[in-house]
């Protein structure tokens, strides 16, 4: 419906809505998160649901412990390589439409623990992330902000046309391959169909090389 017309109608006390808007309105106002905490950020996530910050105001206090009944996965904390397969599996078990908030530096990129053998360098290597929220850990206000950002994102989704969301397309998967434990690392170390390095980072602009790093062979 024409936006202008709608505004005029609403000024005259007539609220016109479309199926698309109703659907998006319902989805965005009833986002039930999965009870799923990984590390430090989980405590801040709990604090967000508690009395002072009260995520329930947005209709999101129904933390469902079973992934089958959840809409949103808040990856709150460090995803280790041992945990990554389970995170992907949980994501696969959630019904569409489903959303992911990567909460905190660790979930985004490994954060302070990125150098090392056992921490996954970002959960978006395996599952698609809707909202990234930086911080170590992010404050509850930041999580609420991420939540509102997600709501806005849902609200803006068109249900037809090329830009329609993943769960309405036939050519996009709703499940993603689960990595397996290897002898030295996870196999595979990333999901190449999902994870692309932004052009900025792959650009041949040299990193500030201090020494002539030949590296290992």
């Amino acid at each position: 419906m024409d936006q202008q017309l709608k505004i005029e109608l609403s000024q005259q006390g007539i609220f016109a809505t479309t199926m698309e808007e109703l659907y998006n309105w319902g989805r965005k106002n009833s986002v039930w998160p999965l009870t799923f905490g990984l590390a430090c950020c989980a405590i801040e996530m709990i604090a967000t649901t508690m009395a002072r910050y009260d995520l329930a105001r947005f209709g999101a206090e129904v933390f469902r412990p079973s992934p089958r009944q959840a809409d949103l996965m808040i990856v709150a904390g460090t995803v280790t390589k041992k945990m990554a397969p389970q995170v992907v599996r949980l994501y696969n078990q959630m019904p569409e439409p489903k959303y992911v908030i990567a909460m905190g530096a660790c979930a985004i990129s490994g954060g302070p623990f990125k150098q090392g053998y056992s921490v996954l360098k970002g959960i978006d290597r395996y599952i698609p992330v809707d909202v990234h929220i930086p911080g170590c850990p992010p404050r509850p206000e930041a999580l609420i902000d991420a939540f509102i950002t997600l709501q806005k994102k849902i609200d803006a989704q068109a249900l037809t046309g090329e830009a329609r969301p993943r769960h309405l397309r036939d050519d996009t998967p709703s499940e993603f391959p689960v990595p397996t434990y290897g002898a030295h690392d996870l196999q595979p170390a990333k999901n190449p169909t999902l994870w692309h390095i932004t052009t900025n980072a792959t650009s041949p602009k040299p990193l500030p090389t201090g020494t002539d790093e030949s590296g290992r062979d």
């Binding site: 009870t35 799923f36 905490g37 990984l38 590390a39 430090c40 989980a42 405590i43 801040e44 709990i46 604090a47 508690m50 009395a51 002072r52 412990p65 992934p67 904390g77 460090t78 280790t80 041992k82 945990m83 397969p85 389970q86 599996r89 949980l90 696969n92 078990q93 019904p95 569409e96 302070p112 623990f113 150098q115 090392g116 053998y117 056992s118 921490v119 170590c136 850990p137 404050r139 769960h167 309405l168 397309r169 036939d170 996009t172 998967p173 709703s174 499940e175 689960v178």
Partner: protein
């Protein structure tokens, strides 16, 4: 929309529950609690074999939050490890700071000014208050009290976090203590605010206790459940409130007299039965003792330097040698074992995690009790996965 109906293979359930396969041959049911489970405090996993609802075997599985903390600390400087210690037991970052600073001070032979010692005691006891309150809240949550006690506990926790934020700039990850002192001095008005919070705290405790302590369902769920005999507790290396709930008088604040704890008048509450109720009550009583210490410390503290001027913060290179320092963290004995080889990085950096070692006796406490009790017993051990797996 692609249906996940077809694609959801049995393997897809493994991480969640290992739950699709039911063994028809035996009457025993093997289930896996975790790593994603509402009451495992994060990503802990217990492989439980059930006979009906009775636990006949329980094996903890760790490592889902192994963040190679020790490896990182060995490849960085002494100072740069302090933020990492915050993230060990992320409920009580200030206690972790203190334990690490204490160990480094032992390693390098540094002295701490008096004011800094007072600030450390105040910070550590505030940490203990909020940790114990949240632990009890989580315990009630595990008993199925739909969040109300947890909400009340977190309401008080937020007040203490406000103090931390005013002092250190961060709610949870304080990164506050330094070798030979503390990072910054108390901001103006902080002491008054802290005194106010401390004075109001007993009201919350009274309210909490009157709501919980004589609730018959709570008594029935906790008394005589998960009994830990004192011999087994010592043998299993259990420390902290769990050990004292079993009746063993061992509080490192009294034994080692680290910091300035000998100046304060406080007692160590001891349990007799070593069951879940005792562990819950000991935490309640310890909070009251912490309030006593806080009350004394907040009134005795005097102005002065907060860090030893001789202590080198940058380019810190202790002499070769080793040291093991430990404190009584809210969870038990938190120790750091450091070896210096004279370089800016520690050669070996080891955390003695109380949470991990307290789990040694988990199976003994749970065997023969029901699944519901297992969750409650596990809740009273009070673990934080960041510390268990590091």
């Amino acid at each position: 929309m692609s249906t996940s109906m077809e694609a959801s293979t049995p393997a897809a359930h493994q991480g969640f529950a290992d739950a699709t396969m039911i063994d028809h041959e035996s009457d025993l049911l093997q289930i896996s609690l975790g790593p994603h489970h509402p009451s495992t405090h994060g990503v802990f996993r217990m492989d439980v074999v059930l006979d009906g609802e009775r636990v006949v075997k329980l094996k903890p599985v760790f490592g889902y939050l192994h963040r190679n903390h020790e490896k990182i600390a060995e490849s960085t400087t002494y100072l740069a490890s302090i933020p990492y210690t915050d993230r060990l037991d992320y409920m009580c970052s200030l206690s972790n700071n203190w334990a690490y600073a204490l160990s480094v001070e032992k390693l390098a032979g540094l002295q701490v000014p008096e004011r800094a010692e007072y600030i450390r005691v105040i910070a550590a006891e505030l940490t203990r208050l909020q940790n114990h309150a949240s632990t009890i809240g989580f315990l009630m949550q595990e008993m199925g009290a739909s969040g109300t006690p947890l909400m009340y506990a977190f309401r008080e926790r937020e007040k203490i976090l406000d103090l931390f934020e005013a002092l250190t700039g961060s709610r949870m990850m304080c990164n506050y203590m330094r070798f030979g002192g503390c990072r910054v001095d108390l901001p103006a008005g902080w002491l008054d605010q802290a005194r106010k919070t401390v004075d109001e705290y007993p009201r919350f405790l009274d309210e909490f206790e009157s709501l919980l302590a004589s609730n018959e369902i709570l008594l029935a769920r906790t008394q005589g459940v998960g009994v830990l005999p004192p011999k087994l507790a010592i043998q299993g290396g259990v420390t902290g409130p769990i050990l004292r709930a079993s009746g063993v008088n061992y509080d490192i604040r009294k034994v080692d007299r680290y910091g300035i704890y000998e100046r304060f008048d406080f007692k160590v509450p001891l349990g007799e039965h070593g069951d879940v109720y005792d562990r819950y009550m000991i935490r309640m009583l310890e909070m009251r003792e912490s309030l006593k210490i806080l009350d004394q410390a907040l009134h005795q503290i005097t102005p002065g330097p907060i860090i030893d001027p001789k202590a080198k913060i940058r380019g810190f290179r202790p002499k070769p040698g080793e040291a093991y320092g430990r404190i009584e963290s809210p969870k038990g004995e938190l120790g750091f074992y450091l070896i210096s080889d004279g370089t800016p990085n520690p050669y070996r950096y080891r955390v003695r995690p109380p949470s991990l070692i307290n789990l040694t006796v988990l199976e003994d406490m749970c065997l023969g009790s029901s699944l519901a009790d297992t969750v409650v017993i596990f809740g009273t051990i009070d673990i934080v996965l960041g510390e268990v797996d590091r």
